[in-house]
């Protein structure tokens, strides 16, 4: 049983002040120009893959958990959602048929439709390929998001089932 690096972003609720800069950063990172002003004012429809959940004093930024056994991957009828070797759960946009099964299945509400050039596709956190630390984590002024690159799943329950592939 070879343990492997898993990468995840965890929200720290106590530190989140609800400023939503993570959303801004995410939208900018996933824009064409990667410049905040162009992304928001010119490209239009800025789209953040993380959502700051807020209710009174409680707030935290919630994006894909990159589950060990993802609900969305189970539900995807087109094979567009896949678990990568490093544990990332990704949407292969060109395969997605926008059926919405993943949207209805993800208990975190982490998958939504994004319309690009008139075509709707499922969109979710991709942990910012090309960045060492995801944009949201880097943008948080208060360390309310931490990027964990731990070994293994760290989950007692999985005692019954080692979900880490060799």
């Amino acid at each position: 049983m070879v343990k492997q690096i898993r990468r995840r972003v965890y929200p720290i609720e106590e530190n989140c002040m609800g400023c939503r800069l993570c959303e801004v950063a995410c939208a900018v990172e996933h824009s064409k120009t990667k410049d905040p002003i162009s992304a928001f004012l010119e490209e239009g429809n800025p789209f953040s893959l993380t959502v700051v959940e807020m209710a009174g004093p409680v707030s935290f930024s919630l994006a894909c958990r990159h589950c060990d056994e993802p609900y969305c991957v189970e539900a995807c009828i087109s094979g567009a959602l896949r678990v990568e070797d490093d544990g990332r759960v990704l949407v292969y946009e060109e395969v997605c048929v926008a059926c919405g099964m993943c949207v209805v299945s993800c208990p975190w509400g982490a998958i939504r439709f994004r319309e690009v050039d008139g075509v709707k596709k499922a969109a979710k956190c991709d942990l910012c390929p090309g960045r060492e630390v995801p944009a949201c984590v880097a943008a948080c002024p208060n360390r309310a998001l931490i990027f964990d690159t731990a070994l293994g799943p760290g989950l007692e329950l999985v005692e019954e089932e080692e979900i880490i592939e060799g």
């Binding site: 002040m17 400023c19 002003i37 992304a39 208060n142 360390r143």
Partner: protein, 507 residues
């Protein structure tokens, strides 16, 4: 503005560059004063300048740098006597008929004696010391020192110390976080102070609001206060502490008590202060059991008794006119440490008129007290802590040379974690999350980050202090204490120099 008094003139104006504003609404969410708001139907963020307090939180948080908070451009007719602030305060009082409240420290134009004092350096005849090559001692012992040491020999003929040394605090750097109560500050700030004090081998002070149980493990680095309201004072509180401090007065508001509005007294504060949730926490102006030095002595010894004479007791007073005589009395009453709080000292809430016009500068008070105690031959009975307006390591060095054993930093500590001196502490809405107990706003102060920043600050000051000691050819801070010969004055009158006990530059 519509529905607002026509007598409200803005102090700041917020300029938003709409070419850059991406309408992310971060500024709206961050402006706890509701000055900035969002108009959904116009998809636009705008600011009500009259509400802006100039805290600059919005500016700091704006992801595109679209915001500039600046001094209001509109002006009253020029008047060298009536300042715009006087006008606005007057209008406000004419409108509301109440005391004008403020927070922070005295921001009026008074002479800053620190800036009239210069340090000496070694040249040729006495070598300076390079702190990077040679050991440099910033450690300070705070507490009573014996009048003389009694040394004898045991049966084996070895020397041994016969004098019993009274309890002392050991600070690795002579900078201590000033008393700022839980209630005025939130728990996150207390957490940060405690962690930083521990990391730097120094102390922090609870202020008069008690110590949250979560912070008991930091007791060894905690000075606990006993103030006129006796909030949160109980046996365990005293026992976990490193030292106890009787608070008589505060530099920002000498002679008046404190008032924590009931709205700020939440569950945790109520538990810590030992008062019901939602009740006002009123600290009386005087301690109602202290009307004389003898009464003070009783309380000092009550505290010592309660803690088995194992901890030093400090007494904190505001620097007022006859501070030297009072300090002498306090030393004689059995205090181990005296804290002098100058008129620049900060506060969570005080009438502006008191903050601005009561008390005297710490530099003069400190010099006067140090001199008086020396003259009376009791300087070793107490350690002196100077508080109220210490801005940088230079102020610390000068304070030590004027006779302080250590300093308290309050405002400087708040600045380190984000305070922009908007002086709205009393509103409980501090946009930087420092002087607020609103659980939502308080989250803006991440104790981990704040502790790191405080630690960095102290580390930087320590480095600078070592440099300054070195250039004076001194290798231990204790050798500088009261060493006024290493100070010179510029631009001060003869009387001022006499009180400070320093010579003019060139002499």
């Amino acid at each position: 503005m519509l529905y607002e008094s026509i007598f409200v003139f803005p102090t700041f104006e917020v300029e938003r560059d709409y070419e850059k504003c991406i309408v992310c609404k971060t500024c709206v969410q961050q402006c706890t004063f509701n000055a900035t708001y969002y108009l959904p139907h116009r998809h636009k963020v705008v600011t009500r300048d009259t509400e802006c307090v100039g805290c600059r939180r919005c500016e700091a948080m704006c992801p595109t740098g679209a915001i500039k908070v600046r001094r209001y451009q509109g002006e009253f007719k020029e008047n060298a006597y009536w300042s715009p602030r006087d006008l606005k305060d007057l209008y406000k009082q004419a409108e509301q008929g109440g005391v004008i409240l403020t927070g922070g420290g005295n921001d009026r134009e008074y002479p800053i004696y620190w800036d009239h004092i210069l340090l000496d350096a070694c040249q040729v005849t006495n070598p300076s010391i390079d702190p990077l090559r040679e050991p440099m001692e910033l450690r300070t012992y705070l507490g009573r020192k014996p009048d003389k040491l009694d040394i004898g020999y045991n049966e084996k003929g070895e020397p041994e110390l016969r004098t019993k040394i009274p309890p002392n605090l050991v600070a690795d750097i002579p900078v201590i976080f000033a008393p700022m109560s839980y209630g005025a500050l939130n728990l996150n700030m207390h957490r940060a102070e405690a962690a930083a004090a521990k990391a730097m081998g120094t102390y922090w002070n609870t202020g008069e609001g008690g110590l949250h149980r979560e912070l008991y493990p930091y007791g060894d680095h905690t000075i606990v206060q006993v103030a006129s309201g006796r909030f949160g004072v109980h046996a365990e509180y005293l026992q976990v502490s490193a030292a106890m401090e009787i608070k008589i007065g505060q530099g920002a508001k000498p002679g008046i008590g404190g008032h924590l509005p009931g709205g700020k007294v939440d569950e945790e504060i109520s538990k810590t202060r030992m008062i019901p949730v939602g009740t006002d926490a009123l600290s009386p102006a005087p301690h109602h059991d202290i009307y004389s030095i003898e009464d003070l002595r009783q309380l000092i010894y009550a505290l010592k008794e309660a803690t088995n004479y194992e901890k030093p007791v400090s007494v904190k007073i505001a620097a007022v006119h006859n501070v030297a005589a009072i300090a002498s009395g306090i030393a004689r009453a059995g205090a181990d440490i005296i804290v002098l709080d100058g008129f620049r000292g900060g506060t969570g809430a005080s009438p502006a008129i008191v903050r601005d016009y009561v008390g005297i500068p710490i530099e003069l008070a400190l010099a006067a007290v140090d001199q008086r105690l020396r003259d009376e031959g009791i300087r070793n009975w107490v350690s002196l802590i100077a508080a109220g307006g210490i801005r940088n390591s230079g102020d610390v060095i000068k304070a030590v040379a004027l006779g302080a054993d250590a300093v308290y930093i309050g405002t400087a500590a708040l600045l380190a974690v984000g305070c922009t001196l908007c002086h709205k502490c009393y509103t409980g809405r501090c946009a930087w999350g420092i002087t607020t107990n609103d659980p939502f706003i308080a989250k803006r102060l991440n104790p981990e980050i704040a502790a790191e920043r405080l630690t960095n600050l102290l580390r930087a000051w320590a480095q600078e202090m070592k440099e300054m000691l070195g250039l004076m050819g001194i290798n231990a801070i204790e050798s500088l204490r009261g060493n006024r010969l290493r100070l010179r004055a510029v631009g001060l009158s003869k009387e001022e120099m006499d009180i400070l006990g320093i010579l003019p530059a060139g002499a």
